[in-house]
Amino acid sequence: MADATFKVFRGDREGGDLVEYQVPIAPGMVVLDALHYIQAHAAPDLAVRWNCKAGKCGSCSAEVNGRPRLTCKTRLDALPLDEPITVQPIKAFPVLKDLVTDVSWNYRVNRKIPPFTPRPDVEWKMDQREVDRVQEFRKCIECFLCQDVCHVLRDHEKHEQFGGPRFFVRIAGLEMHPLDGLNRTELLKNELGIGLCNITKCCTEVCPEDIHITDNAIIPLKERVVDDFYDPVRWFLRKLTRRKTK
């Protein structure tokens, strides 16, 4: 069969370049197969993260021809093969080596989120319809492609003021859990800067799990923040009762 030409970023924190490799095409082949071929035949030290190769773990994120993708689910027959296929690391995080980036920031943000906290004396029964709504958010495989395309992180680099779509999805899963008793709006407003999101829906478009991040997670959370902080009646009540958020 014919070959495909790949241009893969090779480099580290100091910088790097696109390097060209020829890869023979097989039926049904995905970009991650090509990267493995390059490791085995041309560049044994090519750094790539991957685990399941089945779209379930969210490890192999990269930018293929400039588009954020899971390389295990990006088929060569869906790409134009008459020109080189470029594979670059996701841009919103610093490169460690080749296609591997430093995503540790995400793990730090995650630690700020108070965990599921059941209401006192709760009965452990739930209706499937209530659960459906939250299961959508629980599908997230933490590929961080939504973080990668979010302007607030990618272009404006507001990592210190903003949590990013991934963590709004996580919080939505907690806030809408039928048995959870905490309120996380203060965290959303102040530490995770949900107000910075201007709902361009880029995150929703790249989500490999088809989570409706903007419509089902971010917008309802924004509404909760508005209710809690900008509704004058609620604001006054909050002053009186001072709800706990952590």
Partner: protein
């Protein structure tokens, strides 16, 4: 040796951050121990994430008559009575509480009409027993444990690989490893070490396992003097994808059959009628895998050498709801709409029943301070694991390992790592960079996979196994000369060179044990000894290290107490 390294001290060091490792960490922390978890990948990416079908636990939410005795009986029968009966008992008794605990930590299972955790049918389980979340149960479990653990304050060393266990005399003193990001070395001092590194599937060419499944935990334990057990029992899951080539081996969940999917050969025949007329498509995995393999071998296979698995008679919306990731997997990777037509499936190396020999109550190995849980440990599943019993295994024995490891750490005096051992571990890791004429680790890995696939597969014979052992010896020789290019920064070739050593150790243990067991039982099928043998029904194969040589011996299986035996024989 002037090479520098960091040193970290903990009471309990847990190697592996899948279901067993995280559950162990949560429990050890609850006991007040200082706990570290080390994992080769990022947190949350462990192989547990790929578990699809569910967690087996006799909750009796759907089938009211289910109970731990029935679960115990199914597990023993499925394992062809080679199981450690006490582990099977503990597992069946404790699984429901472990599932409820997950729910209390935020896991959201599918529900019954009355609001309880929904349970589905699975191969070898008499009752509807698998608590599930569509077909992504493993993701739900790992995310729940990960969030719980992080919130409680576990120290996690991500993308850090352990290459050697350190000892202080006979007991465990810690571990040596390196950071994958920068290649720097790291020494952990610990009074207890828990191995929770999963299985060995990457030694085969067709496997459902991720790159991490290289048997490193078993090999680390073996090198440190621990015994391995039941290494001949490798589960080939009956339904992996067979086409296109790049996806060969990727798992197709048993839940497809649990939800009503049927197997057919190219003539449209429901061939399971000939292999297990009673349980049909939901027979145990060993039986279904051999059936599909045999159909294909005898010329009744599909175009790409598998069988058809069809669920398209169910309503499309139902299929998408209960099997969403299967729907997407086939649509995106194989151009097949499973709501409209059949999937092509064939056996894939999936799970290791064997592993580190441990005490049923404490999960401790024969090396003081060294514990093991989950797929890395042996005993619970005997000769064949039932679907769904893996996730419950992780929870039940992960918790017990964490508990015992913390207690052990609280009782023993501080340990001291041997500097000479650290120097030796350092030399071993750096040697591949100093060679210029050796094999590439990728070539060696490919050759090992071919060897295991061809000679130590689903059906085995003395001739093949001897040939396989010869090939493994040659590969071991080549591995001593393996050469690595590039720097120490995030270098997958370097990492593979180390993983190869572990894969060769466990591959030899599998082939050696398989050659010795002259009978067919569970997942171990000898074409030259096709029947059960009474002699072997009472013995486990035990592998241990004798200098540089691998020693094989047998140990009698513990006698099942009369009350439990009565349960097994019921019905």
């Amino acid at each position: 040796m002037t090479e520098k390294y960091q040193t970290h001290e903990h009471d309990v060091l847990i190697i592996g951050a899948g279901g067993a490792g995280l559950r162990a960490a949560i429990e050890a922390l609850a006991q007040g121990a200082r706990v570290a978890v080390v994992c080769k990948s990022l947190l949350g990416k462990a192989h547990t994430v790929m578990a699809e079908g569910g967690i087996a636990a006799a909750m009796a939410n759907v089938d009211r008559t289910d109970n731990w005795r029935a679960h115990f009986r199914d597990t023993m029968r499925g394992g062809k009575f080679l199981n450690n009966w006490r582990m099977a008992q503990i597992h069946a008794q404790e699984a429901p509480e472990r599932v409820r605990e997950l729910e209390q930590w935020g896991a959201l299972f599918d529900r019954t009409a009355d609001g309880n955790i929904l349970q589905r049918a699975f191969g070898g389980h008499t009752f509807k027993r698998l608590c599930h979340v569509g077909d992504r149960t493993g993701l739900e479990m790992i995310r729940t444990l990960q969030d719980r653990g992080v919130n409680l304050g576990i120290d996690v060393y991500m993308e850090c690989a352990i290459t050697r266990l350190l000892k202080d005399g006979d007991r465990i003193a810690g571990a040596f490893g390196y950071w994958r990001e920068n290649g720097r070395f790291i020494v952990f001092k610990a009074k207890s070490v828990v191995i929770a590194t999963g299985g060995i599937g990457k030694a085969w060419r067709i496997t459902s396992n991720s790159w991490e499944y290289t048997g490193d935990g078993m090999a680390l334990a073996y090198d440190a003097g621990a015994e391995l057990m039941d290494m001949e029992f490798v589960q080939f899951h009956p339904t992996g994808m067979v086409w296109p080539p790049g996806v060969q081996g990727i798992l197709v969940t048993e839940a497809v059959r649990g939800e009503g999917g049927v197997l057919r050969n190219k003539d449209g025949e429901r061939f399971m009628e000939r292999y297990d007329p009673e349980r049909m498509d939901l027979s145990t995995r060993d039986v279904v895998a051999r059936a599909i393999y045999t159909e294909a071998k005898e010329g009744r296979g599909t175009e790409h050498g598998g069988a058809y698995l069809d669920i398209s008679h169910k309503p499309a919306e139902y299929v998408k709801k209960k099997l969403p990731s299967m729907y997407h997997q086939f649509r995106e990777l194989a151009d097949v709409d499973i709501t409209k037509g059949p999937m092509e499936v064939g056996p894939t190396c999936h799970y290791m029943m064997g592993g580190i020999r441990v005490d049923a109550e404490t999960a401790q190995s024969n090396v003081p301070g060294l514990f093991a849980a989950g797929e890395a440990a042996a005993g619970l599943h005997g000769g064949n694991r039932l679907g769904g019993n893996s996730l419950s295994d992780l929870l039940v024995f992960g918790r017990r390992a964490g508990l015992s490891a913390a207690e052990h750490a609280g009782q023993v005096s501080p340990t001291a790592a041997d500097e000479a051992e650290v120097d030796e571990a350092t030399r071993e890791m750096l040697a591949p960079f100093e060679r210029s004429d050796g094999d590439s680790p990728y070539d060696l890995h490919r050759d090992l996979q071919e060897t295991m696939q061809n000679y130590v597969g689903i059906f085995r014979s003395e001739e093949d196994l001897k040939r396989g052992l010869d090939e493994i010896q040659k590969l071991k020789q080549r591995a001593t000369r393996v050469q690595v290019d590039g720097s120490r920064l995030f270098n997958p070739g370097w990492h593979l060179a180390r993983d190869l050593k572990a894969m060769l150790t466990v591959s030899e243990a599998v082939a050696l044990s398989a050659l010795e067991r002259r009978e067919s039982r569970g997942a171990h099928s000898r074409i030259d000894y096709p029947d059960y043998d009474e002699h072997w029904s009472k013995l486990n194969n035990i592998i241990s290290r004798d200098g540089e040589a691998m020693r094989l011996s047998q140990a009698p299986i513990g006698e099942v107490p009369p009350d439990l035996n009565q349960i097994i024989e019921q019905k």
